[in-house]
Amino acid sequence: MRSPLSLPVRLQGNTISVLDETKLPLEETYIKVNTLDDALQALGQMKTRAFGQVLLFFYTCVLVGEIEEVAASFKKTRPTFDFFTLAHALKGAAKDSSSLKEAAITIIDGIDNKRKVRAQKLAGILPQEGRILTICNVNGELIYLYEALTGQGKTATFFVSETRPYLQGARLTLWELRRAHIPAQVLCDNQAAVVMQKGLINCVVTGSDRSTDKGDIINKIGTYAMARLAHYFTIPFYVLTQFPQTLDIEKIAIEERPPHEVFMWLDGKGPWPEAVYPSFDITPAEFISGWIDISGEVRCA
């Protein structure tokens, strides 16, 4: 079974269709992107993110026939994500392809297949009866993981951290798991410690936006606390990575979003108090138990 979030951005003719994640789970609607400005607007307004922003990047390059400019513009809008590595990959693939479109499609198909392989590898190291705590949303990969686990004769229940302020866990992950009839429960982010203490979960699985060859990661805000607590309770913490790089993770800009967005999912119109909104955090390698890379490589601490 495939989640609509597995490939949330598609190229149809000269138009990119973007699944509007901010409307989920109440509406499954797509917005049209025809220009670089449209793409930047969708990106800046969080209409898509994670794997969706990778797809949007590749298809926008196809649409405007340019790579470097698109990468620079995307980077300006979402500074934490590494669009230049994607640009490099696309330029490399374009050399062996008849068109930029063919190159982009080849890369995208390859990544989706690799995500399935990555899920198989992760399933191989998870417990027989997985009670998996997760944060944010990994674009359908938990469904691949569930299929891999059941294929290996294992069982799994997901505990989905709601992931404030944008609620990607509650709105996206719970929604896609529920659609696929996969056992799942949502919890407040601050319940992570108590579910660990009570033994309700026996492993943690997250994605990552950036990672280094040393194993440090940057991911959705709240990941660090989860890893730190899992380490304290000796619960294994596994990360899905892609393109680890040799770099000082402290030097990567952590995106800070407009404070008013902290209140956007709450009922009422305010006035709201002054707020802070770092949208990512850094988790040092020492709190991570295993890295499962898109290349298929599995590393355990």
Partner: protein
């Protein structure tokens, strides 16, 4: 406010009663650089209620979601935690949902926790609705939000 602008934070967890508000005011008088950090305190958004009370008392404060506390501890933005518990039973401090999360993070980052008797707010009759008015869950879709016991050993 941006992270780089934040200096010494006094993190509140739970709902301060009158005595607690007085203590916060004293801390602010002693240290003008101190900012009061009010987490959201899901699922009942007690942080918004606390923020309203602080505003009424003209206490400057900053709001954050609960999952932002990790990075704030990591970046040493929090100097102390005032933990407003509901009850003390058998050497366990009983606090609102998330109390163990906050106290353990403070302990793991060597930040001192001061326990103070807080207000015993009546819990809303409605079960935890994580998305407020936007979406409701079937009962078995959401983990029940309950008060949490924090062993005294973690606090002191």
């Amino acid at each position: 406010m941006r992270l780089s602008e934040m200096k010494e934070g006094l993190l509140l967890w739970g709902v301060p009663a009158c005595k607690g508000i007085k203590e916060i005011k004293e801390r602010m008088q002693d240290n003008r650089d101190l900012y009061v950090l009010v987490p959201e305190m899901r699922p009942y958004l007690l942080g918004l209620e606390v923020a309203r009370r602080l505003a009424k008392e003209s206490i400057k404060h900053l709001y954050a979601t609960d999952n932002m506390l990790g990075i704030l501890f990591f970046k040493q933005k929090i100097k102390e935690v005032l933990f407003f518990y509901k009850d003390l039973i058998d050497q366990n401090f009983l606090g609102i949902c998330g109390s163990l999360y906050v106290c353990l993070l403070a302990r793991l980052h060597h930040v001192s926790i001061k326990p103070l008797q807080g207000e015993k707010m009546v819990r809303p009759a409605q079960a935890a609705s994580l998305l407020d008015e936007y979406m409701s869950f079937r009962c078995d879709d959401a983990l029940p939000a309950e008060d949490e016991a924090v062993p005294e050993g973690i606090i002191r």
